[in-house]
């Protein structure tokens, strides 16, 4: 049997699955977004019409799309830095030569990552209940006024961000920890002999050497956070006053509640384009930052 034929036979199952159930639908989504596919077309395909870019233009004029995009960007812009800082802080603590019982702390801090989003979101709904929730009880003990965490349009998104940080920080913590452990200890040794403070060691050794890891992690985290859906679905159903309706929530609502599949596909594609643009921008920015530091040195 020739080697090339064997290779294709080994590849066939995976490529068929990916081709039929991913690649084909992605191309289909582009096509679908150019049609007015809706409940009528679902019942009888003859009702389908080609509408060119009408779905996109209509979306760009809909306040709901812009507010969903705004909420998603809010979630990404606040949630990602907060998550990464928490991850980095936890990794630095775990990496400290002074810390004991590291495997225990590592496992405990990582545990939220493997849990089910839906179940955790249900728990947080009760922890942040206005009347009986622990969060408000603690505020009360501190002499602060209770907050209507999930019922106040100003507080709902911050609560979801807190939840996401709690749920996800352990993942990047493990990656940062591996990055920190790869830094040669001699560098810190030399810095200490030169009398560099802990803060300066962090600023001039740890962060620069962690640079590539930081960039990769931030790109992956941004991509993940743009896909916000299950949290608002369970915790707030997109409310109050649609203050937690994300782009994907809008896509789900438009597509599977109202069966406007054409318009929903346009939402999905716009999200993809935005995510792609943000990733490219981050890579560019990182490259420029790196060449700056190169010039300075």
């Amino acid at each position: 049997m020739n080697a090339s034929r064997a290779a294709w036979l080994f590849l066939a199952p995976a490529l068929l699955v990916l081709g039929i159930f991913f690649l084909l639908p992605v191309i289909g989504a582009l096509g679908l977004s150019l049609t007015d596919y809706d409940l009528y077309a679902l019942a009888d395909i003859h009702n389908l019409r080609f509408v060119a870019l009408h779905n996109y233009l209509a979306l760009l004029q809909r306040p709901l799309f812009w507010s969903a995009l705004g909420h998603t960007v809010y979630f990404v812009a606040v949630g990602v830095p907060l998550s990464m800082l928490t991850s980095l802080g936890a990794a630095l603590l775990l990496n400290s030569p002074l810390a004991r019982c590291k495997p225990f702390f590592r496992t405990a801090l990582f545990a939220p990552v493997v849990t089910t989003v839906v179940a955790m979101a249900v728990i947080w709904r009760y922890l942040f209940n206005t009347k009986y929730g622990i969060a408000n009880f603690v505020l009360g003990q501190l002499g602060l006024h209770p907050i209507d965490w999930l019922g106040d349009p100003h507080w709902a998104m911050p609560t979801i961000i807190l939840f996401a940080v709690w749920k996800n920080f352990g993942y990047n913590m493990i990656i940062f920890l591996a990055g920190l452990q790869a830094i040669p200890p001699e560098l810190y040794e030399a810095a200490r002999i030169d009398g560099a403070s802990a803060w300066r060691q962090l600023r001039h050794i740890t962060l620069p050497l962690l640079g590539p890891t930081l960039l990769m992690v931030s790109i992956l985290t941004v991509a993940g956070y743009f896909q916000l859906f299950a949290e608002p679905y369970v915790m707030t159903e997109g409310g109050p006053l649609q203050s937690t309706t994300s782009v994907l929530y809008l896509m789900y609502d438009e597509g599977f509640q109202w069966w406007n599949l054409g318009s929903a596909s346009a939402v999905a594609f716009l999200l993809f384009v935005i995510m792609f643009a943000v990733t490219v921008a981050m890579l560019r920015l990182a490259r420029r930052g790196a060449s700056f530091e190169g010039d300075a040195a």
Binding site: I20, F21, F22, L23, P25, V114, W166, I174, I175, F226
Partner: protein, 273 residues
């Protein structure tokens, strides 16, 4: 800062962080044993005054939680086994078999990772509707039978196997399938375990796609069942916490038992990629 103070500060922060990370999980477990309504009190009770298994009984006998649990087990196991088979074969081909366009094909697949899965969901729903797989286990399982990430993970690991080993078998006249199944597969055991845990956890925790493709409660997985119960029984915190325990406990235990493989795999797929 003196070393003693630094040590106290580091441990204080670690213990504080651990408490924050674990508190919701411990609270869930505790409340799940409380009498109905007992958690809605001030100050919020941390411990069941009269522990009961009643919430679990209600969930299994009246809310169909047993059905959801079986559905989840079935769907996650099937996805794990089938995706393991597809990804192992493809990953091996990318690592060890020569064919025209190998590197380009791999680049295309990796490039496809930038496309969020949700873009495919609307046409995928229509496709599965046409072939009659909407509201069936297959509708959840089939699209998850292969993953670019899994293929890549296997490829990275398989590249560490020396070519001489495979060449020697070829000279002895072993066929490609025999080389794969009898020589390569046994060596891939660690990455198989890693990949199996990843697929199982991802399939178990998945929410959006099952929510779309499973239209009737009969096929609901645990997260779907829990989400729909949470909408009906918003006030019954004790009942919902028991439901959360049933949903989370299996994956949490799996992780605790296999965490070495899980954490290694997490790094294999990211840093060393």
């Amino acid at each position: 800062m003196s070393p003693r103070l630094a040590r106290a500060l580091i441990h204080g922060l670690l213990i504080g962080g651990t408490l924050v990370a674990l508190f919701p999980l411990l609270w869930m477990l505790s409340v799940s044993f409380m009498q109905p309504g007992a958690a809605s009190a001030l100050p919020p009770p941390l411990w069941p005054a009269h522990a009961t298994l009643g919430n679990y009984r209600v969930l299994f006998l009246r809310a169909g939680m047993g059905r959801y649990l079986l559905n989840s087990l079935l769907v996650a196991s099937a996805i794990t086994l089938l995706s393991l088979a597809c990804n192992l074969m493809a990953g091996y081909a990318f690592a060890k078999l020569r064919f025209a366009g190998r590197e380009r094909l791999l680049r295309v697949l990796l490039g496809a990772l930038v496309i969020p899965a949700q873009v495919a969901m609307l046409p995928l729903f229509l496709l599965l509707k046409t072939i009659g797989l909407v509201d069936s286990y297959a509708g959840v399982i089939v699209p998850a039978m292969a993953s670019v990430y899994g293929i890549f993970l296997v490829r990275q690991y398989t590249r560490g196997i020396p070519d001489e080993l495979l060449e020697a078998a070829r000279i002895d006249g072993a066929g490609e399938w025999r080389i794969f199944s009898q020589i390569v597969l046994p060596l891939l055991k660690p990455v198989m375990v890693t990949l199996a845990i990843f697929s199982f956890l991802a399939a178990w925790n998945d929410f959006m796609w099952p929510l779309i493709v499973l239209t009737g409660q009969g096929h609901y997985t645990l997260p779907l069942g829990l989400a729909s119960l949470a909408r009906e029984h918003a006030q019954d915190s004790e009942l919902m916490m028991a439901g959360s325990v049933i949903t989370v406990l299996p994956v949490l235990l799996l992780f605790l038992a296999m965490q070495r493989y899980y954490l290694e795999g997490l790094l294999l797929g990211s840093v060393k990629g």
